[in-house]
C-alpha cells in the first residue's frame, strides 16, 4: 500500500506539520508515503507533475492541498480514473466534489472568528477603526481571499465581490498590502500602511509570520501596544506570540489531524473500498477551527493560550 | 609570377578614367563628401573633412595614427552617421543609416577591426548578409542555404589571395591567425564590391606574400574599372598602387597629391606636419 502527500510548499511550517502527521500515521499503518510539494505557494505545475508521478508509481491514494483549486481538477480526475482515492486537505477543490473527500479547515470561518473577536474587543470603537489588511499575494489565491473576506464579514464590513479582496469601499480599510506570508513582507507592508495612515489600530494578517513582521514594524513606530493584530494558523510559534502579546487572537487549524485522518481514510479505502464521509451539514469533513486568545471577547467562542499550546497544529 | 615593373607598367596601361590632376579632363567624382564632422564626446575625429573619389582610380588615404582616416571611411560606408556634412554618390546626396544601405548600392568595406563573427565559419562570414540559397523548391520555399556552393566559392576566393595555410574552410574565424582573418575580410570585399571598395589597412597583419596578393587584387579590381579607397601606413605600397593620395591630418583633408609628382618623403612630411603642402594640392 502506498500513498502520496502533495502540499503547496514544504517550507511553510503548516505543511511541515501536515507531513509529520501523515508520516507518523503512515508508519503506524505500514503505508509507504511519498511527499511532494510545489516550490512556492501557487506552483501549480509541480502539483500536476506530482499527481502524474503518483499515477505512474501506482499509489492507492493521494492527499493534496491544491495551489490552484480549479485548475488541478483535470489532473485529479485522471488520478481518480486510475482508481486512486483523492482527498483534498485544508483547501476544498472547485467544485468541491472533484475530490473523493475533503478534510479541511473552513478558512472563511477562521477569518470570520478573528473578525468578530476584533470587532467585539474594540466595542463601539469598531465604527471608527482603521484597518490594515496584510494579504498573501497579488494573484489572490483562494485561502487568502477566504480568510480576508471572512475577517471583513466578521468585522461587519460589506464584502463587495466575495471572491476578491481589495474591492471593498468601506473607509475604515486603510489599504491592502501583500506579504508573501513571511516576516519580511509583513514588516514592509505594515511600514507602508503606517506611513499612509499612522492611526491604524487593527491589523489583519494572512498568517502568523506576517503578523510577527507587522509587529516589528509597529514596534519601530512605537505603536505596538495600541494596535490589535489578528491572524490565522495557530502554529506553535504563533500561539506563543499570542501569549507574548504580539498577536491579539489567532484562528487555529489542525493540519496534523487532517493528514492523519487522510492516511487512515486511504488505508480503509485500500483495504475494502470504503469512502470517507462528510461532517453532517457540510460538503466536507471539517477538522475544526478554534480561536486562540487570552483576552476572550463576549459572544465569540475561544480557547485559552494554554489549550492552544497543547493543540498547536495537532 | 610577374616581375614588379612589368605589373606596374601593366596597370598603368589598363587604367581607365581621367585621374591625373594636372592632366586630361576630370570626369565627375563617383563618391564625394563635404564638410564631414564627427565628434566623440570631447574628441573631434572629423573636423569638416572633404573627400573625392573618381571613377576607376585607386585613391590612397594616408595620415598619422588617430588622424581620423577610419572615422572618415566609416562615415562613407554607413557605419557611423556624421554630425554634419553631406555625402554624394554619383552626384546624389545619400544618407546611409546602416552599413547594409551602403552595401546595397555597391560600396563594400574592409574595416580595420575586420567585422567578422568569431564563432561562425569562414564561409558563413564571407556570405553574411547575402547568403546563397539552394536552387529549386528547397531554396525558394524552404529558403535552404546552399552550403556546399558557399564553401566552394569561399575557398576559391581565399586561394586567389594565396591564403594557403587555412586548413579547414569550416574552421571558425576565432581560430584563425591575425593575418588569416584579415585575408578573409579582404576576400569578402573583393568578391562582392560592385561600385566602390574601401579598404582600411588591409595588409596590416598580412605576410609578404599575402600583401603582394592584395596589391595584385587591387590592380585587378581597378582593371575591372572599379574605384578603390585604400588606407595604409605602408608608403611603398601606397606609392605603388595609388593614382592619387589623400593626405589626412587632424581630422580633415590636408591635400591631395599625385604620387608621380611628389616623393614618399614629401608625403610623409605633409602628413606628419613637417612640411606645409603646396597651395595647388590643398
Amino acid at each position: 500500500q502506498s500513498a502520496c502527500l502533495i502540499t503547496k510548499t514544504d517550507t511553510n511550517p503548516f505543511f511541515v506539520k501536515m507531513k509529520e502527521g501523515a508520516e507518523a500515521k503512515a508508519a503506524e499503518l505500514g503505508i509507504t508515503l511519498n511527499s511532494y510539494a510545489g516550490r512556492i505557494d501557487g506552483d501549480h505545475e509541480s502539483q500536476v507533475a506530482a499527481i502524474e508521478t503518483c499515477i505512474a508509481a501506482g499509489a492507492d491514494g493521494i492527499l493534496i492541498t491544491a495551489s490552484d483549486t480549479a485548475a488541478i481538477v483535470p489532473a485529479v480526475q485522471q488520478a481518480r480514473d486510475a482508481g486512486i482515492l483523492v482527498i483534498a486537505l485544508d483547501t476544498p477543490l472547485e467544485p468541491i466534489d472533484a475530490a473523493d473527500a475533503t478534510f479541511a479547515t473552513d478558512n472563511f470561518l477562521a477569518g470570520e472568528l478573528i473578525g468578530q473577536w476584533a470587532a467585539a474587543t474594540l466595542g463601539d470603537e469598531a465604527a471608527n477603526a482603521k484597518i490594515a489588511m496584510l494579504d498573501l499575494a497579488v494573484s489572490q489565491p483562494s485561502v487568502g481571499v477566504l480568510r480576508d473576506q471572512g475577517f471583513l464579514q466578521g468585522f461587519g464590513i460589506d464584502l463587495g465581490d466575495p471572491n476578491r479582496w481589495g474591492d471593498e469601499t468601506d473607509p475604515r480599510i486603510v489599504g491592502n498590502e501583500v506579504t508573501a506570508g513571511n516576516e519580511e513582507g509583513g514588516r514592509t507592508a505594515m511600514e507602508n500602511l503606517l506611513t499612509q495612515d499612522p492611526e491604524i489600530n487593527v491589523v489583519y494578517t494572512i498568517n502568523e509570520p506576517a503578523a510577527a513582521g507587522a509587529y516589528e514594524a509597529l514596534r519601530a513606530f512605537g505603536r505596538q501596544d495600541d494596535v490589535l493584530i489578528v491572524s490565522v494558523d495557530g502554529g506553535c510559534p504563533g500561539v506563543q506570540n499570542v501569549a507574548d502579546g504580539v498577536i491579539g487572537a489567532t484562528s487555529q487549524q489542525y493540519p496534523l489531524l487532517m493528514a492523519s485522518l487522510g492516511i487512515e481514510a486511504i488505508a480503509a479505502y485500500a483495504a475494502d473500498g470504503t469512502l470517507p464521509e462528510n461532517t453532517p451539514g457540510k460538503e466536507f469533513f471539517d477538522t475544526g477551527v478554534a480561536l486562540v486568545t487570552d483576552q476572550p471577547a463576549d459572544g465569540v467562542e475561544s480557547i485559552s493560550v494554554e489549550e492552544g499550546m497543547d493543540l498547536c497544529w495537532g | 609570377m610577374d616581375l614588379p615593373d612589368d605589373r606596374r607598367a601593366d596597370h598603368r596601361r589598363r587604367r581607365r578614367g581621367p585621374v591625373d590632376p594636372e592632366g586630361v579632363v576630370m570626369s565627375a567624382p563617383i563618391l564625394t563628401a563635404r564638410g564631414l564632422v564627427k565628434r566623440y564626446g570631447r574628441v573631434t575625429a572629423l573636423d569638416r573633412a572633404d573627400f573625392d573619389l573618381y571613377p576607376g582610380e585607386v585613391l590612397a588615404v594616408i595620415g598619422d595614427n588617430g588622424a581620423g582616416k577610419t572615422s572618415l571611411i566609416k562615415a562613407l560606408s554607413g557605419a557611423v552617421r556624421p554630425d554634419a556634412g553631406e555625402i554624394r554618390l554619383d552626384g546624389q546626396v545619400v544618407d546611409f543609416h546602416a552599413p547594409q544601405d551602403a552595401r546595397e548600392v555597391g560600396i563594400e568595406t574592409v574595416y580595420q577591426n575586420l567585422a567578422l563573427s568569431p564563432a561562425l565559419s569562414i564561409a558563413d562570414n564571407m556570405f553574411m548578409g547575402r547568403e546563397l540559397r539552394k536552387p529549386g523548391l528547397m531554396g525558394k520555399l524552404l529558403r535552404r542555404l546552399d552550403r556546399k556552393e558557399m564553401e566552394r566559392q569561399a575557398r576559391d576566393k581565399l586561394s586567389e589571395l594565396g591564403l594557403m595555410t587555412i586548413q579547414n574552410i569550416n574552421q571558425s574565424v576565432e581560430t584563425l591567425s591575425g593575418g588569416q582573418r584579415q585575408g578573409v575580410a579582404v576576400a569578402r570585399a573583393a568578391a562582392f564590391g560592385s561600385k566602390v571598395i574601401i579598404m582600411d589597412e588591409p595588409t596590416a597583419a598580412l605576410g609578404v606574400k599575402e600583401s603582394r596578393r592584395v596589391l595584385e587584387l587591387i590592380n585587378d579590381v581597378r582593371g575591372r574599372g572599379m574605384p578603390i579607397v585604400l588606407i595604409s601606413h605602408n608608403m611603398p605600397h601606397v606609392f605603388e598602387v595609388a593614382d592619387r593620395i589623400h593626405v589626412h591630418r587632424l581630422g580633415r583633408r590636408l591635400c591631395v597629391i599625385d604620387p608621380k609628382a611628389y616623393s614618399m618623403s614629401d608625403a610623409v612630411a605633409f602628413m606628419t606636419g613637417a612640411k606645409e603642402p603646396p597651395a595647388e594640392a590643398a
Binding site: 511532494y36 494573484s139 | 606596374r8
Partner: protein, 357 residues
C-alpha cells in the same frame, strides 16, 4: 618624377618567385580521438544527448520498470512539453546574447486571453486563439523594439515586461480560473494540445508532439537559412554583424516577435496540459526554460549552441525530476540534487570539450 623614381616595390619580394601556391588541404581523420573531437565540436548538442541517455539508463537501473516503461518515459515528454516550447523561445533570444525573463508571463497572459476572449466575450475559439497569438506577438514586439531600437539591455527590458505582463494578467483575469469542464464543453479547441495518441503503453499528447516538431523546425531554420545565420552572428558580435551587412534591428525584432508567438503557443499547449485556464500557472517557466537552455550547452553570451541541446537539457531535468520522485526522494532533496546536477552536467560538458580539444 618618372616611374622609376618612386621605389615601386621592394626588391625583396622577388624572393616570392617559385613559392608554392597550393591551398593547404584539409587533413583527414587522424584516429578515433580526432573524429570524436570533431563530432563533439561540430555537434554542440551531442554532450547533453549523452548525458540524457546516461541518466535515463541510470534511473532505469535504480528505479526499475516503473521508470523504464514507455508510459513513464513518454510522461517525461508530456511534462517537459510546455518548458520545451518556452525554452525554444528562450533559445532564440539567448542566441542573440539576450535573455527573456518575460517568457512565462507572456505565455500565461496569452492563455488567459485565449480563455477570456472565448468565455467573457463569447468569441469563437478559433478567433480567441488568434487573439492570444496576437497578444504574444505584441508583447514580443514591444520587447524587440525596446532592445533593438532603444538599445536597452534585454535583461532589464524583459524584467520590466515580466512585471508588467504578469500584473496585467492578474488585473485582466481578475484571478479567475476557467474550469476544465467548461472549456471541454464550450471551447474544446483550447484543449486541442491535451489530446493524445497511445501506442502500446506510450502516450503522446499533441502538446509533446508539437514541442518536438517546433524544435526540429527551429533547428532547421537556425542552421539552414540565412535568418538563422544572422541570429547567430548577432549573438556573436552585434557590431561585426551590423558592419558585415546584417540588418541587426530587423532581425532582433523578428526574434523577439517570434519568441512572443512561441510563448503564445506554449500558452495554448499549457491549457491542453492542465485542462483549465489559470492565471497563476507558469511561474517557474523563466527559470526552468533558462535552465534547459544552459544545460543544453547554449552559451548565455550568445552565438553558440544548438536548439536541440535545449530540448535535451529540458529532458534531462524532466528525467531527473521524475526519477527522483519515483525513488521517493524528499522534495527538498530533489531540488538539492537538481542543483548539483545542473552544475555537474555543465562541468561534464566543459570537461569533454576540453579533453577532446
Amino acid at each position: 618624377m618618372t616611374e622609376t623614381t618612386g621605389p615601386s616595390r621592394d626588391d625583396y619580394e622577388s624572393g616570392l618567385e617559385g613559392s608554392s601556391t597550393d591551398v593547404a588541404s584539409f587533413e583527414g581523420g587522424r584516429g578515433p580521438l580526432y573524429r570524436i573531437h570533431g563530432f563533439l565540436h561540430s555537434t554542440p548538442s551531442a554532450v547533453p544527448l549523452i548525458v540524457l541517455v546516461a541518466s535515463v539508463l541510470t534511473f532505469g537501473l535504480l528505479v526499475g520498470e516503473r521508470f523504464f516503461s514507455p508510459f513513464a518515459l513518454t510522461l517525461v515528454l508530456q511534462q517537459v512539453a510546455v518548458i520545451g516550447i518556452v525554452g525554444s523561445a528562450q533559445t532564440l533570444v539567448i542566441l542573440t546574447a539576450g535573455i527573456d525573463l518575460s517568457v512565462g508571463a507572456i505565455m500565461v497572459l496569452s492563455s488567459v486571453v485565449m480563455g477570456q476572449f472565448a468565455f467573457r466575450y463569447g468569441l469563437p475559439p478559433e478567433i480567441a486563439v488568434l487573439c492570444g497569438f496576437a497578444v504574444g506577438a505584441l508583447c514580443g514586439f514591444i520587447n524587440g523594439v525596446l532592445v533593438a531600437i532603444m538599445r536597452l539591455p534585454p535583461f532589464i527590458v524583459t524584467l520590466g515586461m515580466w512585471q508588467i505582463v504578469l500584473a496585467a494578467n492578474f488585473l485582466y483575469s481578475a484571478n479567475e480560473t476557467i474550469r476544465s469542464q467548461e472549456i471541454a464543453e464550450q471551447a474544446p479547441l483550447l484543449q486541442f494540445f491535451g489530446e493524445r495518441i497511445e501506442i502500446g503503453g506510450a502516450v503522446f499528447t499533441y502538446g509533446a508532439i508539437a514541442m518536438v516538431l517546433l524544435v526540429l523546425g527551429l533547428h532547421y531554420v537556425l542552421t539552414q537559412t540565412a535568418w538563422g545565420r544572422h541570429v547567430y552572428a548577432i549573438g556573436d558580435d552585434p557590431d561585426a554583424a551590423e558592419l558585415s551587412g546584417v540588418r541587426v534591428k530587423h532581425t532582433l525584432i523578428s526574434v523577439y516577435v517570434l519568441s512572443g508567438l512561441i510563448c503564445a503557443l506554449a500558452g495554448w499547449v499549457l491549457v491542453g496540459r492542465i485542462g483549465s485556464v489559470s492565471p497563476t500557472a507558469g511561474q517557474f517557466a523563466n527559470i526552468e526554460s533558462i535552465t534547459a537552455v544552459v544545460i543544453g550547452g547554449i552559451s548565455l553570451f550568445g552565438g553558440r549552441g544548438s536548439i536541440l541541446g535545449m530540448l535535451f537539457g529540458g529532458l534531462i531535468v524532466g528525467v531527473f525530476s521524475l526519477g527522483l520522485r519515483l525513488m521517493g526522494t524528499d522534495p527538498q532533496w530533489t531540488y538539492l540534487m537538481i542543483g548539483v546536477l545542473i552544475i555537474a552536467a555543465v562541468a561534464v560538458d566543459q570537461w569533454i570539450r576540453k579533453v577532446s580539444s
